[in-house]
């Protein structure tokens, strides 16, 4: 029997198990999608439905009032809202870009260049993931103030560039690339920079697409946590920080808060959908063999 006909018969699969698994997946998916449904519905609920008893999950009279109120709140603030949006996008995009490039470059060396200190360095990276960030905040604040980066974008960007997760993820993926491929490139006269940029990076596209999701998501939503610590000027704040200020407005602001939550969520989801489709595309084109 040749391989083609084997594949046509769907390799080693039985339909009963398929159906069972499908039912299981649908159940879990329904359960996991609750926050999406809840957030979307709540953003369009009029106030009397938000405070209804028994609590409502699905909106019955959808309205755009929450969004209109939100615009009203922002038109009062003395820093134009567009500035917050710019800050958020600037931090999320440049932080993600820098992290992916810098961490992948180091990951390539750890995974594919033979150094005697690679192993201990990598062990150090993995170990550092296990140290809780709560106690390193104080030393980090002192470092950032010593470097004169307080109240600048750098205070958020530079630590984000060096976060450990990305290096670890990229290194694990690059390890799967056959050594022979890199040897061949070297014999052909390619420099380390070229091997990294033109050979290794294209192969691990699913990995850095995933890394983009992680990095963007953490810079997008945790922005307010870090920015509260290091950023004092109102014009350098992010949308997320402003969201916190709106939320502290109490019950009267419940409607706009629901609207903001939906808006804040939509960007990571958009990025997610975009990158995921890329990850799936690569699969059909990559045909790497040892």
């Amino acid at each position: 029997m040749n391989v083609k006909s084997l594949l046509k018969k769907r390799l080693n699969r039985s339909w009963t198990v398929d159906i069972l698994l499908f039912v299981l997946l649908t159940g879990v998916a329904a359960f996991m999608s609750l926050p999406l449904i809840y957030t979307i519905n709540r953003a369009f609920m009029p106030l009397n439905e938000i405070f209804a008893f028994p609590p409502k999950f699905i909106v019955s009279n959808p309205t755009f009032k929450n969004f209109k109120d939100l615009v009203g709140i922002f038109s009062d603030s003395w820093v134009p809202f567009s500035r917050y949006v710019f800050n958020t996008f600037f931090i999320a995009i440049s932080g993600t870009f820098g992290h992916v490039i810098i961490a992948s470059a180091a990951a390539y060396v750890l995974a594919k260049v033979k150094f005697s200190f690679n192993k201990p360095l990598f062990a150090l990276v993995v170990m550092s993931l296990m140290f809780t960030p709560y106690v390193t905040q104080v030393p980090n604040y002192m470092t950032i103030s010593y470097l004169g980066m307080l109240d600048t974008y750098w205070a958020i960007l530079l630590p984000a560039f060096g976060s450990t997760l990305g290096l670890y993820l990229m290194k694990q993926f690059m390890e799967q690339i056959p050594d022979a491929l890199i040897e061949a490139a070297k014999i052909d006269g390619a420099t380390e920079y070229r091997i990294y940029w033109q050979i290794v990076m294209p192969i691990v596209k699913p990995a850095w697409m995933t890394l983009i999701i992680f990095s963007l998501q953490s810079l997008w939503t945790n922005g307010s946590v870090t920015s509260h610590k290091y950023i004092y000027s109102e014009q350098l704040r992010t949308v997320d920080a402003v969201f916190g200020q709106i939320a502290s407005g109490g019950i009267a602001r419940t409607g706009p808060v629901a609207a903001v939550t939906l808006l804040m969520m939509s960007v990571p989801i958009a990025v997610f959908i975009f990158t995921q489709s890329r990850v799936i595309q690569t699969m059909s084109t990559s045909g790497l063999k040892e």
Partner: protein, 302 residues
Amino acid sequence: MIARKFRLMKSEMKQNKHALVLMAPYFLIFLVFTVIPVLMSVVLSFTYFNMLQFPRWIGWSNYAHLFVQDDVFLIALKNTFLFAFITGPISYIACFLFAWLINELPPKLRAVLTLVLYAPSIAGNTYLIWQTLFSSDSYGYMNAFLIKWGFILEPIQWLQDPKYMLPILMVVQLWLSLGTSFLAFIAGLQNVDRTLYEAGAIDGIRNRWQELWFITLPAMRPQLMFGAVIQITSAFAVAEISIYMIGFPSVDYAAHTIVTHLIDYGTIRFQMGYASAIATILFAIMMGTNLITQKFLRKVGE
């Protein structure tokens, strides 16, 4: 001997100058923002430090105090272990299982399901909707439902009763847990060489479970190791959901964890030395768990 080794390293570095350049930016930042703060914290754990005066060296007494006199720490330790050893393995297996199942679906459906399963982690603090679900008055969905169907007569204090707190937190944590490792596994599955499966089919692999054990799992070992580290760190470092859902401190410390204990001493009582000692112990626990887990993972597919 050492001098020779050093010379060897030096020539090695000279040969690979370009590689060093590639690696330098990351490791400089890593050194400044991660390694040095961690080392500082470990040193501080042997001192009394109230963040105003200069730290005073007190040797092992922070550690001694933790285990001998601090009853709350022992509660936190117990809770954290319960939490980690129940949610950790379940969510690790769930992450892989769902990634693997989804991978078999046609691309469009796969994209939608990935999004839906990842949704709780993507949307920030969505776990707060569980607060509405388990709210203590009859407004909560859970109580409203149980009263309506006659299971109970009066609302249960879900989030205030020590009996229910930890289990509810575990459910929420599991619900949130299809996160980082889940996506890494999905990307990892895309990286597995398709021809291996064809070869396997010819070599007599009979069903999808054999295929999983003999081909998929070994091919994904790097991602599995990554996922294990991520799951260990998130299972032991649970704090945020406890603070936001149950409150801080929780009734009878029933949902107190090592990290909430650390936050208590670090940011409320300003005893940085003591907080650093807690962090160092947590670090040691995680390292130990990690070593055991990695040992197991090396045996996968054999």
